[in-house]
């Protein structure tokens, strides 16, 4: 065989050294475009979807699911799952109502009580999951039961009315007469959570733990701290959601967040690109996912779609949306990911 000899060229300068930064669209672009498409579609169908009033209603209706999506993101990122966030809403709403009605602490105490109730459940979730080494699905299934039972036992299933107007303003008031306070709080919490996860050393460690727990352990990451913090933050944010819901309903509602809404937070986060297997996704994505689901639900109502048809249409549209999001990254990446170890 003939010897084909190419003259060796000196090694190319490692491109690593090159200082230019290649511009990349943030991964949330896809879900953002989808949201725009859905909103545009709604506008076309109804003719008056994109009014300030409607958008504001839509956002108000998305507060709960949006906060739950953010709270769930912390736990999903480390490869866990938090089934208790729905029930935590009931617990913290009732806690706030009890404090406001039966103690002299007033609305600040009520807010604090609601949030602390959530944080406590979150802390328990994290501690048990980490130290007892039970799958978080089980731990949070158990605390879901606990957090759902306590408010029922305390109230005997009768909601506790809240008459404090300052407290209720959290869910019903407006800033500058147009921006709902609850929406503002949700956006603020989401922004803080996004910054925490994307800009702090803690955030880097969260992604590391979710990406490969063992590698992170060997690199000295304190797994206990990360686990417990993530679950506690999840519970805390769910507590906020409970407080705002209580303010919206002007009562501590002992069956809040029960039933299938259990799933809404997780579903939003997953629609927004957070992996159920940990290590990838973002708060911004999760929030966009929540707004997509919120818009669809709201849109079905505005379109007068028969109640029976709604789950079908929402399901199919979400599927199409995520499919589009998957495809936008190009068929080859898609195929590669399918083959390349991505879980189904």
């Amino acid at each position: 065989m003939a010897r084909t000899e190419t003259t060796p060229t000196p090694p190319a300068t490692p491109s690593a050294a090159a200082p230019r930064k290649s511009f990349r669209l943030p991964p949330e672009t896809g879900i953002f475009i989808i949201l725009a498409l859905i909103m545009g579609g709604m506008e076309l169908l109804t003719g008056n979807f994109l009014t300030v009033g409607n958008i504001s209603t839509l956002l108000v209706n998305t507060i709960t699911i949006g906060l739950l999506a953010v709270s769930e993101t912390f736990v999903l990122l480390i490869g866990g799952i938090d089934l208790s966030v729905g029930a935590v809403q009931a617990l913290s709403g009732v806690a706030a109502a009890v404090v406001i009605n039966h103690t002299p602490l007033g609305w600040p105490g009520a807010i604090l009580a609601g949030i602390l109730a959530g944080a406590a459940i979150g802390f328990i979730n994290g501690a048990i999951t980490h130290y007892v080494n039970v799958p978080s699905f089980i731990t949070t299934f158990a605390t879901l039961g606990v957090a759902a039972s306590i408010p029922l036992i305390v109230t005997q299933a009768n909601p506790i009315p809240i008459f404090d107007n300052t407290f209720n303003a959290l869910g019903q008031g407006y800033v500058l007469k147009i921006i709902p306070i609850g929406v503002l709080i949700m956006l603020l919490i989401a922004a803080i959570a996004h910054v925490v996860l994307s800009r702090t050393a803690f955030g880097v460690k969260v992604y590391a733990v979710g990406g490969n727990r063992h590698s992170a352990y060997l690199a000295g990451v304190n797994l206990a701290r990360i686990d417990i913090l993530c679950f506690t933050l999840s519970g805390t944010i769910a507590g906020f959601a409970g407080v705002i819901l209580a303010a919206r309903l002007a009562s501590g509602y002992p069956t809040a967040g029960s039933g299938a809404s259990l799933f809404d937070g997780i579903a939003s986060a997953v629609v927004g690109g957070v992996s159920l297997f940990g290590g990838s996704g973002s708060v911004a994505g999760a929030l966009l996912g929540a707004i997509v689901i919120g818009t669809l639900t709201e849109g079905m109502d505005v379109l007068d779609l028969n109640t029976y048809w709604q789950p079908l249409v929402i399901g199919v549209v979400i599927l199409l949306a995520v499919t589009l999001d998957t495809w936008k990254s190009g068929l080859f990446r898609t195929l590669m990911r399918r083959i390349g170890g991505a879980k189904v």
Binding site: R3, P11, P14, S15, A16, A201, V204, N212, A219
Partner: protein
């Protein structure tokens, strides 16, 4: 001889093969021919595209362009299954052993022996016991394959591939985790198979190995072919020239002024330490020295490192660090005491696959890259850039480590531990899968670190590596430290090997 067999056994040829990931070409229209009865060594620097070529031939990746000719007829493999149906068996660089399945189930995965619709467990098990014994792999066929050491897993994978009796055998760095005697045996097997008409491709960074086994050599460079030739009179220096692009004048390291094996303060005093396979090891480690630990896989040397870092439970023994007692508990605690540990199981616990190169590099020293609670991305990038250029990691630093070539992943892990600035660095197979250029660079870094006062314990299955970098060598055999503190000046390959067996 091989020509005759080639006529009989057919060929596998690549022509104009292009492969792009996200528009970035990693294989740039190459072609070469593999013939039956011959062994082809596929060489090249890390990230040159060797594994990509094997993935294309094995059906794991589809080429962006070009054709594959099997016995002269164009074929396309959409999946590894199709490639296997055409008689191609592969040992992948990223091993495909499935950790939760037993050895038996891994062995027969997708070709189970069944009887009446059910798997015939007895028959499969008997076959596996025989195959393992034939290749000298000492392992429980009913244990999950994840329990095996990396070396044993690689051996198992090779045995599985050989068991298929395929016409074409593609081996991607099969020897990276094997010890000297296993390598010798494997190379003999490869020659024997070739003599019987099998077409073998072997990817390796060990040039001696390539010359020992190959009839034909292909060198890749940045996705192109730099050399496609009969082995003929090629020397290691020639190969190195084609791989790196320049001739290197001798190895400065090996001939650098020998340092004394001992001296300095006693950094670590290990007494009667037992952990894992390591039995009653007593070693005295001096500051500023590179200490080589040599032994076959499972002889206990890696267990010693793991014990020191707190990832393997101590069964007994005392450790004194700088005069004070040291009881390893967790990696965190070990890091706080100045240890660092480079794992020999990079795929399982070496890096965070879906994190960027930069962040992986600073992960073990993240405190230094934080301003208060904030992660300092700029400082991180500067550090990563410096490490990348020193170790020739050519991929963009924002790339996820999952997508790097195996050798480049190894460099990222090494970079992580250099960045961590540990005073005592425990390195298990630090240059596994690293190309010759970067390997020299890593050796240089190890020497530099030692010169600056750090202490390094290095386990390597390559005697040459130990001889090149260590100031003093300890040899492990069956968990026992059989050769205590042999200064480099007195160490030579033959005696170390003899001590280890």
């Amino acid at each position: 001889m091989s020509a005759v067999l080639a006529e009989r056994g057919g060929s596998l040829a690549l022509s104009g093969i292009v492969k792009r990931y996200d528009a970035a070409p990693v294989v740039r229209g190459i072609g070469f021919t593999l013939r039956a009865g011959r062994v082809t060594a596929l060489l090249g620097h890390n990230g040159a595209g060797k594994s990509t070529v094997l993935k294309i031939l094995g059906g794991a990746e589809r080429p962006t362009g070009g054709t594959i000719l099997l016995d002269g007829a164009p074929v396309g493999f959409a999946t590894p299954r199709e490639a296997e149906a055409h008689g191609i068996a592969v040992v992948w660089q990223e091993l495909r052993i499935i950790e939760n399945l037993t050895l038996v189930r891994n062995f027969f995965l997708n070709r189970e022996i069944t009887r009446a619709g059910l798997v015939d467990r007895a028959a499969m098990r008997a076959h596996v016991v025989r195959a393992l014994a034939a290749h000298g792999l000492d392992a429980d066929p009913d244990a999950p394959a994840g329990d095996l050491s990396p070396g044993d897993r690689q051996m198992l994978e090779i045995i599985i591939a050989l068991d298929k009796g395929s016409r074409f055998l593609l081996l991607d760095e099969p020897t990276s985790a094997l010890n000297a005697s296993e390598i010798t045996r494997l190379l003999e097997t490869v020659r024997r198979l070739a003599a019987a008409g099998t077409c073998v491709v072997i990817v390796t960074h060990k040039l001696g190995e390539a010359l020992a086994v190959a009839d034909h050599v292909v060198v890749m460079k940045d996705g192109d072919i730099a050399l496609d030739a009969e082995r003929g009179e090629l020397s290691e220096a020639d190969l190195a020239y084609y791989i790196t692009g320049h001739r290197r004048e001798a190895t400065p390291l090996a001939e650098a002024a020998p340092r004394s094996a001992f001296g300095g303060d006693t950094m670590l005093d290990i007494r009667d330490l037992s952990a894992g396979n390591c039995l009653d090891a007593s070693l005295e480690i001096h500051a500023g020295r590179v200490v080589g630990l040599y032994g076959v896989a499972g002889a206990g040397q890696v267990d010693l490192l793991e014990a020191l870092f707190g990832v393997r439970k101590l069964r007994g023994g005392r450790i004194t660090l700088n005069g004070t007692p040291y009881i390893p508990s967790t990696p965190r605690a070990a890091l706080a005491r100045g240890f660092g540990f480079l794992t020999d199981d990079r795929k399982r616990n070496g890096f965070i696959p879906d994190m960027t190169i930069s962040k992986n590099i600073v992960l073990a020293s993240i405190r230094r890259f934080a301003r208060g609670p904030w992660f300092d991305a700029d400082a991180c990038d500067i550090q990563a850039k410096a490490m990348a250029s020193r170790l020739a990691i050519r991929s963009p630093l924002t790339m996820h480590v999952r997508r790097l070539s195996g050798g480049n992943q190894q460099k990222v892990i090494f970079a992580k531990w250099v960045t961590a600035k540990s005073r005592i660095l425990l390195l298990a197979e630090p240059t596994k899968g690293v190309d010759i250029g970067a390997k020299a660079e890593i050796h240089g870094l190890i020497r530099e670190l030692a010169a600056s006062g750090d202490t390094l314990l290095v386990c390597s299955s390559e005697i040459e590596e130990i001889l090149e970098i260590a100031d003093v060598v300890h040899v492990f055999r069956h968990g026992v430290c059989a050769g205590q503190g042999i200064p480099r000046a007195e160490a030579e390959a033959k005696s170390l090997l003899a001590l280890s067996l």
